[in-house]
């Protein structure tokens, strides 16, 4: 599964995207964020405040309670500041 990172999430993790094999038991976005946070210092720094994190599954913004399901691209990023 492909995960892409943007803005300061990308900077703290240190990469813009990666392929990951999700371990069994990861069902929701919440589960995913919790698992990712334990993968290293950069991940910990990026995801320390989950309420600041926005997630899109296949380019659709979803709540953290959303099951990941069969999506092909997960995007993780800070609150948006466009316009």
């Amino acid at each position: 599964m492909k995960i892409v990172y943007f803005a300061w999430v990308r900077e703290r993790i240190g990469i813009g995207e990666e392929e990951v094999a999700l371990p069994a038991g990861i069902v929701t976005v919440d589960d995913l964020l919790h698992w990712l946070k334990g993968r290293g210092e950069g991940y910990g720094a990026a995801l320390q405040a989950p309420e600041m994190i926005r997630v899109a599954l296949d380019q659709e913004h979803v709540p953290h309670s959303q099951p990941i399901g069969q999506c092909t691209e997960i995007a993780i990023f800070p609150p948006m500041t466009g316009g």
């Binding site: 892409v4 943007f6 803005a7 300061w8 380019q59 800070p78 948006m80 500041t81 466009g82 316009g83």
Partner: protein, 153 residues
């Protein structure tokens, strides 16, 4: 021009040309435009860097635009958002609404802008006049509130 058109890209927005394009032939009563510019913050800022999520940026804006077109009787709606390095004085974002009724055009343009601020995947970072790269612009609660007010209608 299609009824709804969306552009996301690095190029300058030609405001004069966009204004000419949205002007109606005789079917629209009013056209409202909004253009958002990069400020110089009293000389502190050399540029804003705008990162975006390719693909989702266009999709999110198109969804916002189509929601506006369903909510108000619009004849045309044009939305443009830039990414990349933008120096002070240059335009960042542009929205134009043509409608038979001015009120609809005003409301739809404000609605689209409120959503572009907090619901489209763009992130701003400051590049400072002293040559350093500053921090990411923090999301404002007021922008979330501005987008949320439309749910109450």
């Amino acid at each position: 021009m299609d009824a709804v058109s969306v552009v996301v890209g690095p190029d300058r927005i030609d405001l004069a040309e966009e204004t000419r394009r949205i002007a109606p032939g005789g079917d629209a009563g009013g056209v409202v435009t909004f253009a958002g510019f990069c400020r110089d913050e009293a000389g502190r800022l050399k540029a804003l860097e705008i990162e975006h999520y390719p693909g989702m940026a266009e999709r999110a804006i198109r969804r916002i635009a189509e929601e506006a077109a369903g909510r108000w009787p619009l004849l045309r709606l044009r939305c443009i958002h830039r990414h990349g390095l933008i120096p002070p004085g240059e335009e960042i974002v542009f929205v134009a609404c043509a409608s038979v009724h001015r009120q609809a055009a005003f409301e739809a343009a404000a609605f689209v802008m409120d959503f572009m601020k907090s619901k489209a995947p763009f992130w701003k970072r400051e590049h400072l006049a002293d040559g350093t790269v500053g921090g990411w612009v923090e999301a404002k609660d007021t922008d979330d509130l501005a987008a949320d007010r439309w749910h109450r209608l």
